[in-house]
Symmetry: C2
Amino acid sequence: MRLVTLEDVHAAAAAIAPHVVHTPLLSFDSGLWIKPESLQPVGAFKLRGAVNALSRIPSEDRARGVVAYSSGNHAQAVAYAAKTLGMPAAIVVPENTPQLKIDATRAHGAEVFVVGITERESRAYELVEERKATLIPPFDHPDVIAGQGTIGLEICADLPDVATVLVPVSGGGLVSGVAAAVKSLRPNVRVIGVEPELAGDTTASFAAGELVRWDAHDRARTVADGLRAEPSELTWAHIRQYVDDVVTVSEDEIREAVRQIARRTRIVSETSGAVAVAAYLNRELPAGPAVAVVSGGNIEPEQLASILG
Amino acid sequence: MRLVTLEDVHAAAAAIAPHVVHTPLLSFDSGLWIKPESLQPVGAFKLRGAVNALSRIPSEDRARGVVAYSSGNHAQAVAYAAKTLGMPAAIVVPENTPQLKIDATRAHGAEVFVVGITERESRAYELVEERKATLIPPFDHPDVIAGQGTIGLEICADLPDVATVLVPVSGGGLVSGVAAAVKSLRPNVRVIGVEPELAGDTTASFAAGELVRWDAHDRARTVADGLRAEPSELTWAHIRQYVDDVVTVSEDEIREAVRQIARRTRIVSETSGAVAVAAYLNRELPAGPAVAVVSGGNIEPEQLASILG
């Protein structure tokens, strides 16, 4: 299986530069910097992968548009990328998606199809067939992984003495790209994946040395609604090759991390976005400066108020 | 009276670059970008002026340290800048200062003196006298104004077609520096100061064409605790020369702006930091892309929860 290379990530960086924010590193405390991907126009790192994937669609296919299925941030990212690059977009979302994310996706000009949670893939493939459109998967694609990897390039450039990079894990697109970039540039930097205990399938896979599958209902127990997916064969191959460790955090640790991020760096993070900081606050890490990727900030104001209050 | 020049601001930019964040412009909606100075290490733009002022202290005076008096963000900024540049700092704060800000100032290694609200200037001057230290005023100093002006340079560089810049006004250091930089580079850009109606002394001065003084008790009515100061002769001279207009916003408009900033840009802003966005949402502005400076993000989590909930 061909893995994403440093050259792929450099090419992605050039392609997406006009459309994404080069996020600054923000001081959390003396040992940790956060990389606030919540500052992207759609509020999440997903924009990087989406813009890169769309920018590589051949010009003759662009008018037929793109299709995506997603529980939220990927939907907004594809919708925004399509608007930015002048392509039509159809987005299929499950009916339990937060209204904030559905509204934001529509606001970017995409057609939104709300379907039962088990039907989203099949409906997306129907749309691809009907329209001869291009499917943009949330993580299971080399162009998406390469786009997310640009975060790793920025971390290495902006903090040359980084020792550890902490990255949320769900489907694994983010950690695959970041780890491929960071380990290719700096083999001695430790890249550690973080997931909720209640969706700890990748931690289990890492311990077993092979892909372990958890039931979707089990993975859905965590408050971190963006971390309920599971790796594909492609992202698992990157994780095995490039990631040094995968650890889990509790639901209480996740909520406390949202609170600490708001207080110490004045950043709004969603629960899924805060797990890497939760790991820093609660797990033993290697010595030296650490960076935690705060992957997104799309949280309902009422939920944030209840966590802060 | 000598006003701060574009050359002063360029020199400040070079001096402070290693120590401050070049804050990104974040999309609020199709007409507005925000400049999130809440992302500075101390959570406010004040770091720029403090680092610039401290960096210009002659080397033979540095060991005797610096003194500042402030209701909050300036205190933290001077404490952080002193730690960064290796100087001792003594900070005098009034007894009504939020505990979050006092704790943060101490955490940066400064000595903190909590005094009655009317004694802070006199206590600061005593400390200067005793220690032969250098006083760093919150806004009434050309080096401080030049440091804040670097925000204007960044806006002009990052958004070449900017039409309007909205800036919170209290003592006027921020708006003086930003306006001096922006109007020197781009005379056609409109620079508009924003203050709470309940502390609208600069709006009154602007209308009268001369410095109008409001009683400190009147200015203290606004929830925006960072906007209760009044301009000095020096900042007023910059405002007259460079600022196109000054407008006011209501207390409800300020709270709603905090909510919208969190929701649309995933940024935590303090009430004082949100007034420029409140003006964008509620006042008629010239056509073309606008930038609102979000000047700080140091808000107690409970206050933020109550505004969001």
